[in-house]
């Protein structure tokens, strides 16, 4: 256990945003220190926050943006993985996987890490009846990257990573994370990110039509029942390359 979260659980846990972020860091520490070869966590926050890498704190308009987001009920939190701002709320489910692996020409890389998370995620969606899930970029989506889990070309899951060398050897510890919108409307979450963009005077705006929520694809899905199968697929997918 780390704080209120159980690292052996195969079920969806409901901490605060801050508790979930701290737990993901602890997961990476556990792998890095050799306590486990693989760790996992599924969580959905019971509060709200706009989560971003700490480098955004250096933006000229950040203090004002932070105040404006607090006024809207979206306090800013920082995460250890890369990317740009992402809203966290009860409408988002996060899955984190930490594995020990070895980098090199034929071993683990960031692409390997993204497929390690994204491929089982797409398989899980297919089993649930979603035929057109894949990995790829989504123009117009916030925190876009090359390895979003998409449904019909729209972003369902944003993914990011953190790599840390295991002290005293060539092994690396990888934390790969996915944030899946499960409820609310895409427009509602996009609007939060666009409010931050406006507050820091960045002209880029994101589009609700570039995102999709899981409830739009699978309106009858019971998440608490379905998430353990997704976690099991992620944990059992493939061993880390040696």
């Amino acid at each position: 256990m780390a704080g209120p979260l159980d690292f052996s659980s195969m079920t969806l846990q409901r901490p605060t945003v801050e508790e979930g972020l701290v737990a993901e860091e602890a997961l990476l520490d556990m792998v890095c220190q050799g306590e486990v070869e693989i760790g996992w966590l599924a969580w959905s926050p019971r509060d709200r926050g706009l989560v971003m890498p700490r480098r955004h704190e250096r933006l000229a308009g950040f203090p004002d943006a932070r105040d404006r987001l607090v006024e809207r009920g979206w306090p800013i939190r920082f995460r250890s993985t890369g990317g740009t701002p992402v809203p966290q709320s009860e409408a988002v489910v996060n899955l984190a996987l930490a594995v020990r692996c070895r980098v090199g020409s034929s071993a683990a890389h960031l692409e390997w890490g993204y497929h390690r998370l994204g491929d089982p995620w797409c398989d899980w969606l297919e089993v649930l009846g979603v035929a057109d899930a894949d990995l790829g970029p989504v123009p117009g989506a916030y925190c876009d990257g090359r390895f979003n889990v998409r449904i019909g070309g729209r972003k369902l899951v944003g993914t990011a990573q953190r790599w840390r060398r295991v002290r005293g050897c060539r092994d690396m510890a990888l934390l790969v994370h996915g944030a899946m919108q499960v409820g609310d409307t895409p427009e509602a979450l996009v609007e939060v990110v666009n409010a931050f963009q406006a507050a820091i005077d960045d002209p880029q705006r994101f589009q609700g039509a570039s995102h999709v929520a899981l409830t739009q694809a699978l309106p009858e899905l019971d998440l608490d029942t379905a998430i353990p199968d997704l976690l099991a697929r992620l944990v059992e997918a493939r061993p880390a390359p040696a």
């Binding site: 480098r55 250096r58 993985t81 890369g82 960031l110 990011a160 990573q161 840390r164 060398r165």
Partner: protein, 78 residues
């Protein structure tokens, strides 16, 4: 003796460039071998860069600068 801190060649595949997202210690600070000193981001992946030897840090590439694999981003004076 001066030792360069470089962005390791094996951190990511391909020729894509990264950006220094954070220095975790200040210019001129004394660091020990293995200490985490910087973070580099590529494709939403944050990589931690550690000190190869102990010494006094001299930063050559600043936060938000773009770097390629193998780039010397700082040096350590033993």
């Amino acid at each position: 003796m001066q030792t360069a801190i470089t962005v390791p060649e094996d951190l990511w595949e391909g020729d894509g460039e990264g950006v220094i997202t954070a220095w975790l210690v200040n210019d001129g600070a004394e660091v020990a071998q293995g200490d985490l000193v910087a973070e580099v981001m590529v494709e939403k992946a944050q990589y931690e860069i550690e000190a190869p030897v102990s010494g006094v840090l001299a930063i050559a590439k600043q936060e938000d600068e773009v770097v390629a694999k193998g780039t010397a981003i700082a040096s350590l004076e033993a």
